[in-house]
C-alpha cells in the first residue's frame, strides 16, 4: 500500500498592529511553522514513495497557502471553506480537520506545524489527533520506518528521545527539523495552469453550521490588549572594568547567565 501523508496547514495573517486583523490576500501567507511539516512529508514521500495531501480550513484567501504547498510538490490540496466557520476556536477547527482527514482515508501520517505565527496556541495538532484517536508525538525531529512500525526522534532539553509508534500516527514537526525547499518558478506556473485547489464545504463533510463558528466554539477571545513594556535605563558607574563587573553581576543575579 503506498503511503498517504496528510499535512494540515494554515494561512496566517502577517501583520496585525491592532490585534485582530483583516485577512486579505496581501496580508496572508502560509504559516512559516507549516513549512517544515510540508518538507518532512515530501522527504518521506521521496524516500518511501506514496502521496502527500495538504489540507487547510480557512477563508478563500487560504487558497494561496495551499498553492504554495502544491508548488513545493504536494500531490493534492484541499481547502475546507464555509462562511459559517468564521470565528471557530481551535477545538472546532480540530473537529472540522478531523472530519476532513477521515474523508481522505486511508492515511498513514498526519503532520502539523508546532504552532501558527498569528494565533500561537499550538493546540490544533494535539486536539485533532485526539479527536481521531491517533497516537501523537510533538516536536518530531526525525523519523524512519522499520520492520514493524516507525522509529521517531524528538528532543527534550539536551536529550534525544527515541520513540516507537505504530501507524497511523500524528505529529507536530519541530520548526528547526527540516529546512523547507525553495519554491521554483516552473512549479508555480504549473500550479496555476489548472484548477489548483479543491474546495470542500461543511455540507460535504456532514457538519452542521451550528456546531462551528463563533456560536459553536466553547472558547472565544474576549479582548486583546497590547502588552506595555516599561523601558527602564540603568546607568552603570565607574571605569570600564568596574562597569563590566557590575553588568556581569546583575546578569548573574537575574539568572540570565551563570
Amino acid at each position: 500500500m503506498p503511503l498517504h501523508i496528510i499535512v494540515c496547514i494554515k494561512s496566517v495573517v502577517r501583520e496585525a498592529s491592532g490585534g485582530a486583523a483583516l485577512r486579505t490576500p496581501e496580508n496572508s501567507e502560509l504559516n512559516p511553522f507549516d513549512r517544515p511539516a510540508l518538507e518532512a512529508a515530501l522527504r518521506v514521500r521521496e524516500e518511501l514513495g506514496g502521496s502527500v495531501t495538504a489540507l487547510s480550513m480557512g477563508p478563500r484567501t487560504a487558497a494561496e497557502a495551499l498553492g504554495e504547498a502544491l508548488a513545493m510538490g504536494v500531490d493534492q490540496a484541499i481547502l475546507i471553506s464555509d462562511r459559517a466557520l468564521a470565528g471557530s476556536d481551535t477545538l472546532v477547527t480540530a473537529a472540522v480537520l478531523a472530519r476532513g482527514i477521515e474523508k481522505l482515508a486511508p492515511f498513514d501520517l498526519v503532520f502539523f506545524g508546532t504552532r501558527t505565527a498569528d494565533s500561537d496556541t499550538g493546540q490544533v495538532g494535539p486536539q485533532t489527533a485526539l479527536l481521531l484517536g491517533l497516537p501523537f508525538l510533538s516536536k518530531v525531529k526525525e523519523m524512519s520506518r522499520g520492520e514493524d512500525g516507525w522509529k521517531v526522534m524528538r528532543t527534550m532539553d539536551d536529550w534525544e528521545e527515541d520513540w516507537e509508534v505504530q501507524g497511523p500516527w500524528a505529529a507536530t514537526i519541530h520548526g528547526a527539523a527540516f529546512e523547507a525547499r525553495p519554491v521554483g518558478l516552473a512549479a508555480i506556473s504549473r500550479v496555476y495552469d489548472g484548477s489548483a485547489v479543491q474546495e470542500w464545504s461543511l455540507r460535504e463533510l456532514g457538519i452542521s453550521p451550528d456546531a462551528v463558528g463563533l456560536s459553536g466554539s466553547p472558547t472565544r477571545v474576549a479582548s486583546m490588549e497590547k502588552i506595555k513594556r516599561a523601558r527602564t535605563c540603568l546607568m552603570l558607574e565607574g571605569e570600564p572594568r568596574e562597569q563590566v563587573k557590575s553588568l556581569l553581576q546583575r546578569l548573574d543575579d537575574a539568572g540570565v547567565i551563570g
Binding site: 486579505t24 490576500p25 496581501e26 501567507e29 487558497a63 494561496e64 498553492g67 504554495e68 508548488a71 525553495p182 519554491v183 521554483g184 518558478l185 516552473a186 508555480i188 506556473s189 504549473r190 500550479v191 496555476y192
Partner: protein, 382 residues
C-alpha cells in the same frame, strides 16, 4: 496594498523570489558591488528554480510564467541587488525571448534549454563605440561566405558580456542595403576569433560583468542566423519592447528598496527631539517617493498585462520604462537626502541604490529615445 494585475499566482511568485533573495542575495549584495564580483554561487542556486528561463516554454526547460509574474520576479530581485536584476532582465528579455520568438524549432532546441537552465548566460550585442541610440550607425559586418558568415564586430558596454556564452550579434549582412541589411547572428563564446574585452569599471551595477565583445574574422555557421537576413532591427526592436518591461521592473525594485530604507530610517533617526518622520520636510519627501513608486508599479504591471493579452504595448512599455527609471532617480536621490551624511557612506545601502538607479535612464533606450517613441505613438493617435 491591494492592486490590480496582481493575483494569487503573482503573490506567490513575489513571496518565493523575495524569500530566496533575502536568504541568498541580501548577505552579499553590498560586497559584490564593492568588489565588482559576479556571484556565481547565487547563479547556481537560482538556475534550478527557473530564474534564467522565467518566460521560456516549460517544454524547453523554462518556467513558462506570464509577463506580470516575470515583472514581479525582476522587481523582487532588483530590490535586493540591482546588478542581478539587470543580469536576469537582459538574459530573459533580450537574449532568451528573441530566440523563442524568432528562432527556428531547431535553434530553440539548441539554445533555449541551456539558457533557461542557467547553464549558459545570454547577451545582446548592439551598441558600438559610434552607435548607441543611433542603432543604424553600426558598422559590424557578417558577410555571407559559403554556408558561414564572416563576422567582424566591435560591440561595447555589453551587459553580462564578461560571462555570456550565447550572444546575439547585430551586424550588416548586406552593407549596401542600409537598415534593411542588418541581421542578427548568434555567436557562441569559444568560437575562434570571439574575444571578450576587459570589464568596465562602472559607477553602479558593479556586480554585473559589463564588457566589450569583439569578433575578429569569426566564422559563424549560417544556421546561426536568427529570423531572416535584413530583419535585425525588427528583432532588436521587438526584443527591446519586452526588455523595457524588465528594466522598468528593475528600476521599480531599486526605487522600492530606497523608499523602504528611508521609511525605516525616518522612523528611527531623531533630530530636534523627534524622529525625522515627524518633520514635515521629510514627510513631503516620503509622500513624493511613495507616489512615484506606486505610479511606476502600476505602469510596469499594466504594460506586462497588455503583453500577456496579445494587445499592443509598445507605447505603454516605453512609458513604463521612462517613468520607472526617472522615478528611481528621484526616489534614490531623496533617499540619500533623508539619510543625511550617513546616506553618503557605504555603510548604508542607499548610496548603492543611488548609483544603481542612474543607468536605468540610459540603457535599453535612453529617456530621450523613449520620449520620441511615446510622442510618435501619441501624435499618431495611439
Amino acid at each position: 496594498m491591494s492592486e490590480p494585475f496582481i493575483e494569487d499566482k503573482q503573490r506567490l511568485v513575489r513571496r518565493s523570489v523575495r524569500a530566496f533573495c533575502e536568504k541568498e542575495l541580501r548577505p552579499i549584495a553590498a560586497d559584490i558591488d564593492k568588489e565588482a564580483r559576479f556571484p556565481w554561487e547565487v547563479v547556481e542556486k537560482m538556475a534550478p528554480l527557473g530564474y534564467f528561463g522565467m518566460q521560456a516554454p516549460r517544454e524547453l526547460g523554462g518556467a513558462g510564467l506570464d509577463t506580470v509574474s516575470y515583472a514581479v520576479a525582476i522587481e523582487e530581485i532588483s530590490r535586493v541587488s540591482g546588478s542581478m536584476g539587470l543580469c536576469l532582465s537582459v538574459h530573459n528579455s533580450v537574449a532568451v525571448y528573441p530566440i523563442c520568438a524568432f528562432g527556428t524549432p531547431e535553434q530553440q532546441k539548441r539554445w533555449v534549454p541551456p539558457l533557461a537552465g542557467g547553464r549558459k548566460i545570454g547577451a545582446f550585442c548592439l551598441t558600438e563605440p559610434n552607435a548607441g541610440s543611433d542603432a543604424s550607425g553600426i558598422t559590424s559586418t557578417a558577410i555571407p561566405d559559403g554556408d558561414h558568415f564572416l563576422v567582424n564586430a566591435n560591440k561595447v558596454l555589453v551587459t553580462n558580456g564578461g560571462v555570456a556564452d550565447i550572444c546575439l550579434i547585430f551586424a550588416r549582412t548586406d552593407p549596401a542595403a542600409g537598415n534593411r541589411g542588418i541581421s542578427v547572428v548568434v555567436a557562441e563564446r569559444g568560437t575562434p576569433g570571439f574575444v571578450v574585452g576587459d570589464l568596465e569599471d562602472l559607477c553602479g551595477m558593479r556586480a554585473n560583468p559589463v564588457s566589450s565583445i569583439r569578433l575578429y574574422d569569426c566564422r559563424i555557421p549560417g544556421e546561426n542566423l536568427l529570423h531572416k537576413p535584413g530583419m535585425g532591427l525588427h528583432v532588436g526592436l521587438a526584443a527591446l519592447d519586452t526588455g523595457r518591461i524588465g528594466i522598468g521592473a528593475q528600476a521599480l525594485g531599486i526605487a522600492r528598496a530606497a523608499l523602504e530604507e528611508s521609511v525605516r530610517y525616518a522612523n528611527q533617526r531623531h533630530q530636534f527631539g523627534a524622529p525625522l518622520a515627524r518633520h514635515q520636510a521629510v514627510q513631503m519627501m516620503i509622500a513624493d517617493m511613495a507616489v512615484q513608486v506606486d505610479a511606476a508599479r502600476l505602469m510596469v504591471y499594466r504594460a506586462a498585462w497588455l503583453k500577456d493579452r496579445g494587445l499592443p504595448f509598445t507605447k505603454e512599455a516605453a512609458q513604463a520604462k521612462l517613468f520607472a527609471a526617472e522615478a528611481a532617480g528621484k526616489v534614490t536621490d531623496m533617499a540619500v537626502q533623508i539619510h543625511g551624511g550617513y546616506g553618503y557612506s557605504k555603510a548604508y545601502a542607499v548610496e548603492r541604490y543611488y548609483r544603481d538607479a542612474r543607468v536605468t535612464r540610459i540603457y535599453e533606450g535612453t529617456s530621450e529615445i523613449h520620449r520620441m517613441v511615446i510622442a510618435r505613438e501619441t501624435l499618431q493617435g495611439k
